[in-house]
């Protein structure tokens, strides 16, 4: 079978997950992510892997957590309303340090919103949907090839950091068709979770970090009997309210991600070397931004694009450096400025950072971006 396919974004994601070794899926149908469940319902059974359509989104993520804990590479896929339902279970996976990938295909929100139309409105929810203080990893992609790679990356990071990874892409990428080339086996290295070398029946402490800070896992139901809970817990996994334990655990959960910005920052740059005007974008909005850059360069305007593939932890350092090198920065996105707010926070000179956005369920266009550029440059928009 040819390695080159012409597929929907959801299929590129599915192919990436299979490439990464995903062998456990539990989900619930919701537009615009249902195709992922449909494809996996066909692909997992012949391989003897697990496919479950659960009774709701909450049960789906709970089943994924159960499966992952026993040692599987587990995933679910949903959209806004389902993602909202999954927040409690997502917090559980963060607290209990359970690797998994959760795909949220963004559609118009809030509430039922626009089921079949694009938005990028869940960026802040991915960061703060879980109650309490915490850290999360959230990735995105603006092309199908990038989405395939981001999906594999999501599994690798989940296993490395022992945490759920949110794969946020938008409805437009999900449903449009584009060329994807599936890499050869081994071309993209795959990461498996670190497993403990503590022998069976020896005291195994599931939450005792090694010297390098990593936490070896033990497949639940296997060699070691231990407790897993969403309560604050000691190194054995038993509940504790001791202030020192609480401080230690929360610091660990946050520092293992927030402190690793360098390892977790993934971006693509297009014509940024000498750019005076910098566009910052992600997902399908980045496709229009890239076109705007191309058009500008054709006319001799020095414009460039910093495309984000990591949304959280926000690549503040990368953004700060890129913005400092440019004169003006325009954040291009399809929400009311969720990444724009993070850019403002990251940079020294906020007065030269602007927002070009669209929130009506349609793709932001190069013309939309140019309108904003004209306002910034002072030539005005002719009504």
């Amino acid at each position: 079978m040819s390695r080159v396919r012409f597929v929907q974004g959801n299929e590129a994601c599915t192919l990436g997950a299979l490439y990464a070794g995903m062998d456990f899926f539990a989900g619930y149908p919701i537009t615009p992510s249902s195709e992922i469940a449909e494809m996996l319902s066909g692909e997992l059974p012949p391989r003897g892997h697990t496919f479950l359509q659960m009774e709701d989104e909450i049960a789906s993520l709970c089943a994924v957590i159960g499966g992952s804990l026993t040692g599987r590479k587990a995933m679910t896929a949903t959209s806004g309303p389902g993602f909202s339902l999954m927040q409690e279970a997502l917090g559980y996976a963060v607290m209990a340090e359970i690797p998994l990938v959760i795909v949220n295909v963004m559609r118009g929100g809030p509430s039922t919103g626009l089921p079949t139309q694009v938005s990028q409105g869940d960026v802040n929810q991915a960061r703060w949907g879980i109650h309490g203080d915490h850290a999360v990893i959230a990735l995105t992609a603006g092309s199908h090839q990038a989405l395939f790679e981001s999906t594999v990356r999501a599994f690798n990071l989940a296993e490395t950091f022992r945490t759920p990874v949110i794969l946020l892409y938008d409805e437009l990428i999900a449903h449009m068709r584009e060329r994807v080339e599936i890499p050869e086996d081994g071309e993209i290295p795959l990461v498996d979770r670190l497993r403990t070398s503590v022998p069976r029946d020896v005291d195994y402490r599931p939450y005792l970090p090694r010297e390098d800070g990593r936490l070896p896992m033990s497949d639940f139901g296997g060699d070691h009997r231990y407790n897993v809970t969403g309560l604050y817990h000691d190194m054995w996994g038993f509940p504790s309210t001791d202030p020192e334990v609480v401080r230690g655990l929360l610091s660990h959960l946050v520092d293992k991600i927030e402190g690793k910005e360098d390892e977790l920052t993934f971006t693509r740059e297009y014509e940024t070397d000498d750019a005076e005007t910098l566009l910052i974008s992600y997902g399908s909005a980045a496709r229009s931004a890239r076109q705007a850059v191309f058009d500008a360069r054709e006319r001799g305007i020095r414009m460039g694009l910093l495309e984000l593939e990591t949304l959280w932890p926000f690549p503040a350092r990368k953004v700060r450096d890129a913005v400092a090198a440019a004169t003006d920065t325009v954040v291009v996105e399809m929400n009311l400025g969720q990444v724009y707010q993070q850019v403002l926070r990251a940079v020294r000179h906020r007065e030269r950072v602007f927002l070009s956005n669209r929130i009506d369920g349609r793709l932001i266009t190069p013309a939309d971006i140019r309108k904003v550029l004209r306002i910034i440059s002072g030539v005005g928009v002719w009504a």
Partner: protein
Amino acid sequence: MKTRDYLRTRFFPHLWCAGCGHGTVLNALLRAVDHLGLPKEDIVMVTGIGCSARMAGYVDFHTMHTLHGRALAFATGIKMSRPELQLLVPMGDGDALAIGGNHFIHAARRNIDMTAIIMNNRIYGMTGGQFSPLSGEGTAATTAPWRSIDPAFDAMELARSAGASFAARSTTFHVRELEKILIAAMEHKGFSVVEIFSQCPTYYGRKNQAGDAPKMLEAFRDGTAKLGSKALEDDPQLIPRGVFIDRDAPEYGASYAELCKKAAAESSPERRYGKEVPRC
């Protein structure tokens, strides 16, 4: 093995109130496990949230203390991944049948092989004595100071409608019967539900003047009767105890394994994602 060999004894005495029925359920459950000779490393206990859920911390099995109402969903993921393990899922009445009602229905519907143990004390104990959907009209609770207007429902009927292949009810007074029922429930291949009337002297008991723990056990003794007994026939107001459902039905994990075999056999390049690729 002795009962205490199955316990994480370093955490005893446990946190349950004096006279709480949940300890008696744990007692019977461990005797049933011992009777069956199940090795500790083959047993997974998944709980939700509440007094009942704390059982997970006390047993030397693979234990997972999850989210309110969601234990059966977590357990489904574990069982589908490791079908050879014995899954025990103790839950409270609110845990299993209020917030967890949907997951209860679907676990029963799938007939997935696990044992759901509903410790029905007709109250939300851990959070301070609020009424539950199993409290019943006229009962008092911290959120029903004027007495509850909420009717209760029958967990056995719900289990039957949802398709459970094993459903039984007992109480923390009828400890020998309880142990036998738990043995049968664990041996049963499919979804087993065991509802156990358990006393909460601290909240249900005090709010409803039901007396101390021994008094509440007497009420279980006097207010229930075995299925098929003359006592039940003479007084249909008594709550029936015993095994309500015990039938063979396809177990979900086994059906899925069959599906995988079929899919592997029928898989071909002409089928993309299981579906026939239309020839243009």
